[in-house]
């Protein structure tokens, strides 16, 4: 599928160009990845459920990344960065698990 191809292209581009992440953003990169992963899983589940919408997907992707990184950033400023980061990762993790479970159900049934 084009989607998988797009993913592969992205991975290869990332490896090839090896962009240097600015030091200030470096700690938020893992959070952003997890948030993006949550959005992608949600999108995949919606696709399998038959209610996928590209606008919703793009918006949820971007907003997830920005909001998750933003929450952790604010937490760092406030001094509770570690705890907020834990909270965000817990929530995102649960969502990812539950979406993946739904996807599994779809794939096993199909």
């Amino acid at each position: 599928m084009i989607a998988v191809l797009g993913l592969l292209v992205g991975v290869l581009l990332g490896l090839f160009f090896h962009p240097d992440v600015p030091i200030g953003l470096e700690p938020y990169l893992p959070i952003a990845v997890v948030a993006a992963l949550d959005a992608v899983c949600g999108g995949l589940r919606a696709y399998l459920d038959g209610i996928f919408d590209d606008k919703v997907f793009v918006v949820s992707f971007l907003s997830n990344v920005v909001i998750a990184a933003g929450i952790v950033y604010v937490g760092d400023r406030l001094g509770v960065g570690g705890q907020l980061s834990t909270g965000v990762i817990v929530v995102l993790g649960i969502r990812i698990f539950s979406n993946v479970a739904a996807i599994r159900r779809h794939l096993l049934r199909a």
Partner: protein, 304 residues
């Protein structure tokens, strides 16, 4: 509206739901963005005619691949960058950690070496302190010895109790009956034999190289001419000096000579005599040098 796992719809009040259901379960239930369901519902409710202007948002769900692919490319890039970042950081972390460990070990070694050096230096300081103490003692002992030697040798002024012998020449004395250098020498020798420690003749201190001799008509002591009356001062034990003088042969000879030639002498004890040192031209030795290895030199104990 919410969708439970089975896909059926159950109308619930969201606020009530949020209050009743435990947090984790709530998160799980809402794991799929409600937006997807909302968008699907809106599409189903809006008639096909109204959706014409917006591109691709007709009855079938909008599935334009462009933005999706783009988002996935970005996601892939994020993934790989994050992976690479973590790996690089791990390298940096472990490198910096190992370099820190090396630094710590290097500093520890250096500390150990310096402590050893400190211990060695302390020992050396102790040794040197002991040496200084010994040298100071030796120095003081040597200074003391020099004083005593100087006192005895005549190079230092001395003070003490002693006797005064005054010899007067009668006016009628001629070359034979006047006081000669040998007479003074007899007296001086007698006094030394009797235990005198320092003697002056008319203010001239007697040393080991002092000569009492006649030069022309006058008597010379230390190269200085002296004349009558002759005052001989001798420092010694007043209790015995005078008595012993006339027990010695020289003393008796002197007494006999004085008696024979008729010059008078008086001997009296004095509580405090101050005798000057001999002049430097006498005490500076020209031929004799110090023999460090000669007998009698380098002895630690004093004869004082």
């Amino acid at each position: 509206m919410s969708l439970d796992e089975a896909g059926t719809r159950a109308p619930t009040d969201p606020a009530l739901e949020r209050a009743r259901i435990p947090l984790l379960e709530l998160i799980q239930r809402q794991s799929l963005d409600e937006d997807y369901a909302d968008a699907a519902r809106r599409r189903a409710e809006a008639p096909a005619a109204l959706s014409a202007p917006s591109a691709g948002s007709g009855r079938p769900p909008s599935r334009r691949i462009g933005p999706v692919a783009l988002a996935l490319v970005v996601f892939g890039g994020l993934l790989s960058v994050a992976f690479v970042q973590t790996r690089d950081n791990a390298d940096v972390d472990s490198a910096s950690r190992s370099s820190l460990i090396r630094q710590v070990e290097a500093r520890r070694d250096r500390l150990e070496r310096q402590q050893n050096r400190l211990a060695r230096l302390r020992t050396r300081v102790d040794e040197l302190t002991t040496q200084v103490a010994e040298l100071t003692d030796a120095d003081q002992a040597a200074a003391l010895r020099a004083l005593r030697i100087g006192s005895a040798a005549g190079t230092l002024a001395v003070v003490g109790e002693g006797v005064r012998v005054l010899i007067t020449e009668p006016d009628s004395a001629d070359d034979v009956s006047k006081v000669h250098d040998e007479d003074l020498a007899l007296l001086v020798n007698g006094l030394f034999e009797a235990g005198a420690e320092a003697i002056t003749v008319n203010g001239q201190r007697l040393t080991a190289v002092t000569a009492i001799r006649t030069s022309g008509t006058a008597i010379e002591v230390n190269g200085v001419g002296i004349g009558p009356p002759y005052t001989v001062l001798a420092i010694g034990d007043t209790g015995v000096l005078g008595a012993r003088l006339f027990e010695t042969k020289s003393g008796l000879d002197f007494a006999a000579t004085a008696d024979y030639y008729g010059f008078d002498y008086t001997l009296e004890n004095v509580d405090r005599l101050v005798l000057p040192a001999a002049p430097p031209r006498v005490t500076n030795l020209r031929s004799a040098r110090i023999n460090s290895f000669g007998p009698g030199n380098g002895k630690e104990d004093d004869e004082g």
